[in-house]
């Protein structure tokens, strides 16, 4: 579903009051990131779309239908907006089992769809357990499956993976991509994690001080300095060790830590936690197939 919106809202945060303003147009089937530091209004934006927070003025249109319009006094209640919302803290119903959480999300019970979702997220064996006995990653899967159970027109993910360890995060990112390929639901992801945005999204909308400051595809943002490199990776600096004339950087690319030596007089100094772009020029890559996509998709 296509989203068109233009909203204004006064926000009260720890740093004071500021006004938030955004005009956006998100195409049907896109997977978009709302990117930026905490407290800039990314989550508020998502909540405005879902109807959990009211904008002060403006409009929200989804698939040609007006969900909110301050001029005409239209404000569709959250329950009538067909969104799948994944909360940062999961917000699973503790009194219901995994399966009941999914069933509760459906207006009419669609057993087949529930079974399919449980299968996709590897939850079939856990379906009768309560959320309290599941791990963070498992709970996040339940939250995703529940958000999809009512077959939403939009999937809104509010920093869904921020509480998980790197490996679990990567697995779930793959699952989100798989879901997106499968159903093509327009998806918005709030995130402040660069590699995640890089991996999942084809468009990054950057927020700063209550405004959209950048709206591009992730490659353009990360490869700001034009390079002729053919292979590029976004990495996170884990460790910096000084050794004589060189610094040894331990970098995390995807799930693999890699050690790279850089000159200690390199003009940019790196600190653990920094994001880095690795470009390799003279390179003779060997490509091996790990799994066959065609077979996987042919089965669906």
């Amino acid at each position: 579903m296509q989203i068109e919106l233009s909203v204004k809202k006064k926000l009260f945060t720890a740093t004071g009051e500021f006004s938030f303003k955004a005009d956006l147009n998100i195409g049907s089937g896109e997977i978009v990131a709302f990117f930026g530091p905490s407290g800039v209004g990314k989550t508020t934006m998502l909540r405005i779309i879902a109807g959990l927070t009211d904008a002060d003025e403006g409009f929200v249109k989804v698939g040609g239908q007006t969900w909110f319009d301050s001029k005409d006094g239209i404000n569709l209640p959250a329950r009538k907006r067909k969104v799948g919302f994944v909360f940062q803290d999961y917000a699973l119903f503790p009194n219901m089992s995994v399966r009941e959480n999914l069933r509760f999300a459906q207006p009419r019970v669609d057993k087949k769809h529930i079974d399919e979702l449980l299968e996709i997220f590897g939850l079939s064996n856990l379906q009768h357990r309560k959320p309290a006995v599941l791990s963070g990653g498992q709970n996040q899967r339940v939250a995703l499956a529940r958000a999809l159970a009512r077959k939403p027109e939009l999937l809104l993910l509010d920093e869904p993976l921020s509480a998980l360890d790197l490996e679990m995060r990567s697995t779930l990112q793959d699952e989100i991509l798989h879901i997106h390929r499968l159903w093509g639901i327009t998806t918005i992801l709030v995130s402040h994690d660069l590699p995640e945005v890089f991996k999942l999204c084809n468009r990054v909308i950057t927020f700063k001080d209550g405004r959209v400051t950048d709206d591009r595809n992730p490659y353009e943002i990360f490869a700001r300095n034009k390079t002729s490199g053919k292979l590029q990776f976004v990495a996170e600096v884990l460790k910096v060790e000084k050794e004589d004339v060189v610094n040894i950087l331990t970098l995390l690319i995807g799930n693999s830590p890699v050690k790279i030596a850089v000159c200690s007089n390199h003009q940019e100094s790196f600190l653990p936690g920094d994001k880095a772009l690795i470009i390799s020029k003279a390179f003779n890559p060997i490509i091996q197939k790990l799994n066959s996509k065609e077979k996987e998709e042919g089965g669906n």
Binding site: R79, K80, L92, N95, A147
Partner: protein, 236 residues
Amino acid sequence: MTLQTLASDYLAHPAIGLTLRVTLLALVLQLLTGLPLGLYLAGKKSPLKSILEIIAALPMIFPPMALGFFLLLFLGKNGVIGHLLLKIFDLKIIFTSWGVLAAVYIVGLPFMVKSVQAARRQMDHSLIEAAATLGKTRGETLLKVILPNIKNGIVAGLLLAFGRSVGEVGISLMLGGNIIGRTETLSLAIYNAVFEGEFMRAAIFSVILSAIAIIVLLVLNAVSKNRISGLSIKDI
């Protein structure tokens, strides 16, 4: 004392029937009124809520004798409410078992309201937002999400309310009149027995009253699946 006299003088004593009838009926009324009131008061603050909150908490902190006296004025046949009830329903409250019911209901209600209010406030608000994004109405959310998740608070409220109601003396004395055979509750029966110097009688009534309180406590606790720690039958 033979078993027969124990049975006829004590176990069949009208005070037991009255206490059971009145406290259990009050418990039902406390649930029916305290639950919605507690849920309402847990919402966003407003002037009306602040006033209601003070009124609801009043019986908890107000001296029972003074409260009993004011209620006597209100509910008596010349009082505002008492006069209306007498005129419309031909219902006499003072010195009848209705008076005792009013007394035990009023003293226990704040515990129910406060427990529900606290449980609702502690509940994760995102659960309600999640239910809304899943297309659920407020009614469905109340039944399937809110009530199951504050169940422990409801049970704790009922326990506290019952505990307070079953031990109530001051206001039931004022409103009920402590009339032997009619408005004498078990608590009052103990008081009367001690007053007359019959310590054995007071001891037996005390044991019966304690037994009732413990049974109700265990039953309520068994109803709540997610038990209050330390109070479960399994723990005993």
